[in-house]
Symmetry: C2
């Protein structure tokens, strides 16, 4: 065993300055933070009748982002992927903790990271209430806390035969962005933006409360994530692969086969896939469109199990292999 878990780098001063630098940029405050950064633990007030939603995700350099990725983008994405989990539960974001492991105490890098993190935190009124900075290979673990009224949670287990299947936004952009980033010259900035600075669908998750029967965020790719819903709900899903929403940038960047592979299995989309009964679905789709992120009907829930893919003509479509590559 080596140094204790709270003392790091050549001098404590360095750690203290890094924490102060992060804290100075993460300025979002909330009345429900009784005690924030600076004691052994944060103290938080959860309103009566409200459930606490908790999720945690880690990003590792060389696995989830390139070693030389912009610090500001890494800060944004480390919070975004976590907020996406809260969105998929219908929870309203409240608090986050940040565990940041860095090879060297690089103040400029940390400042840019904190700016990216804070920009998204302020958008969603997320207060940074604690964390840890340690020395080691670059990696970030964020734990987010959200709030939601009891009985309004969106889980994976509520899909019923006959429900429609929907996704927010468009699919496949991040996978196309990753492919373009690995090529020369760099590709369409709209695709890179979707990869590097994904938008968690928090407002849409709130609209789905009490209306969607099941929900999940699409981080591993539509086919894999929808399969989790089918397993949790003991249902099947039939998807029209020609109905999957595509952005203009994706349509311009990819041939049809590649596009479909990215949409079904690309991952890193951070859109919501949800199911809803037909009754009231028109109102729900209207509300989502007004929120700035429309949803598209892509299929239907059935009995049995597993995800079946068909094209618009009704012919079976085989599930492509994953579209992403990794650096590890």
């Amino acid at each position: 065993m080596g140094r204790n878990p709270k003392a790091r780098y050549a001098a404590d001063v360095a750690e203290f300055e890094l924490i102060e630098s992060i804290r100075a940029r993460c300025t979002q405050t909330r009345d429900d933070v009784v005690l924030g950064i600076g004691d052994d633990a944060a103290l938080l007030a959860v309103p009566a009748g409200t459930l606490l939603a908790v999720s945690t995700d880690t990003l590792v350099a060389g696995v989830h982002f390139m070693q030389d990725a912009a610090a500001r983008d890494i800060g944004w994405k480390s919070l975004a992927v976590n907020l996406s989990d809260l969105a998929a539960m219908g929870a309203e974001p409240a608090w986050a903790t940040l565990a940041l492991t860095l090879p060297v105490a690089d103040a400029r890098w940390v400042n840019a990271f904190a700016e990216g993190f804070a920009a998204l935190a302020i958008q969603h009124r997320v207060a940074l209430v604690g964390g840890d900075t340690t020395q080691g290979p670059l990696s970030i673990t964020v734990t987010v806390h959200g709030l939601l009224p009891e009985r309004f949670a969106l889980t994976r287990s509520g899909a019923r035969a006959g429900d429609g299947v929907y996704v927010t936004g468009t699919l496949g952009d991040a996978a196309a962005g990753l492919r373009q980033m690995q090529s020369q010259p760099p590709g369409d900035s709209r695709l890179l933006e979707r990869l590097q600075r994904p938008t968690p669908r928090v407002a849409q998750g709130l609209l789905l409360r009490g209306r969607a029967t099941a929900c999940i965020d699409i981080s591993d790719g539509l086919a894999a994530d929808l399969d989790h819903v089918c397993a949790a709900s003991s249902v099947s899903a039939e998807i029209d692969a020609d109905a999957l929403p595509a952005s203009p940038a994706l349509l311009a960047a990819c041939a049809a086969g590649t596009r479909r592979a990215f949409q079904l299995a690309g991952g890193d989309d951070y859109e919501l896939c949800f199911t809803a009964s037909d009754a009231g679905s028109g109102d729900l789709l209207d509300a989502l469109a007004r929120s700035g992120c429309a949803a598209t009907r892509i299929g239907r829930i059935g009995t049995g199990g597993g995800v079946r893919l068909r094209d618009a003509a009704g012919n079976p479509v085989s599930l492509p292999r994953r579209g992403w590559e990794h650096f590890a």
Copy 2:
């Protein structure tokens, strides 16, 4: 950017099996877990009138433990250092999330890690409610959640001139254990145990509720951590360096000067340092002794600022440099 944050290793099956292996061993359940592992977020019920305490700490291989440390010990310690933070707030542990980054999906290592983690979790009725497994250099981030009645929190800021200063247990064992581990032959197993499997003082933290005026856990070493209390409370502390509690193992292992350095600045002790007024301190000390971990009076709070060290004869003692070494 590379793989998305939820898909890792050569095959998803490997990640799924690792998570199932951890889940199968972390069997502690709680009625307040509305939804545990397996959805986008856990859903937890916080009782009305109760504050949520949240803390997070990271352990990195080669920095906080040796690369070849026993997986079971790493699992235990990754939870212990976090529970120590809850103890220092007077919070009762409830839930934890675990972010585990591993170079390879080694089932045997993960099983041993999970056994160590679970052994401590079961002792303190901590339910594992979520987490993330990623591929990358070995590192563990745990976020713990505890509960405490409003107005009973133990913070760093309540120390008052005239209060006594106390520590639980004994100091310096972990630093002596680290020194011994680096020597041949390996030293006293009692010291190594204190380094590798520290005991968070949860029960003692609960006894301090409403009785201690300030509290902190000793992770960076007594002198550094007590200085945090002095700064937060705008007080000074005068410590009798000859009154610091030492274990028989420490007394046998170290000469007086080294022992004092380890006790004052060794770190990794995970004892509680607290302040309390003299009124009722006798009852408090009796209660702590009955809890199985006695506390020792080591000094007094005064006005001004900073920590002053004196020996039993009243002569100034200079603060030693840190006793620990690191591997980074």
